[in-house]
């Protein structure tokens, strides 16, 4: 099958958004407001139950101090390595959304 790779992706993105929001101590309503969407809508996106528009995701990401980027797949490990030791810099989760390289947790 492998027909729900995209479901994995939006679930993964949702987890990242939630984790980042928690670290920044923001409420769903605050983030939704900053991103210009409703709270129920933001909740769904965070829960990964439906896919936001690209513009919506960008707005949410920026509200959380994240930037959406499209990385050549060959460079993903390098970017990953660059991001991982980042934990102590701010207090952001050095986390990315490339739901491809899922290791079983």
């Amino acid at each position: 099958m492998m027909a729900r790779a995209e479901s994995d992706a939006i679930l993964d993105i949702g987890k990242l958004l939630k984790a980042t929001r928690k670290v920044k101590r923001l409420t769903q309503e605050q983030v939704a407001d900053m991103a210009g969407i409703s709270r129920p809508r933001y909740r769904e996106i965070e829960a990964g139950s439906s896919a936001a528009r690209t513009t919506t995701l960008i707005n949410i990401a920026r509200a959380l101090g994240l930037e959406l980027m499209l990385i050549p797949q060959a460079m993903v490990p390098a970017v990953d390595a660059l991001l991982r030791p980042h934990d102590d810099l701010d207090d952001l989760p050095a986390f990315v959304a490339h739901p491809d390289g899922e290791r079983g947790d």
Copy 2:
């Protein structure tokens, strides 16, 4: 002002998709097919005339050998630097879509 930051974003993404598609010598129809969307729809996304869903963008990106990532804004310059000297590795455009840090072209 600054009310069309998202329009800039999808325009920028569209340019990246088109440039990457050209480098890979794929037709719009091929990419649309790989991404599971229609050719007219892919054309619009590439033209930046409307925002795709997140899942759609992910599918298109992967069809083009790109991966969508959410990067902490503080790390964007470093990731950028990592991506730029990448030109000679494959023949992919070492290019990203963070339409925020637009320098005059």
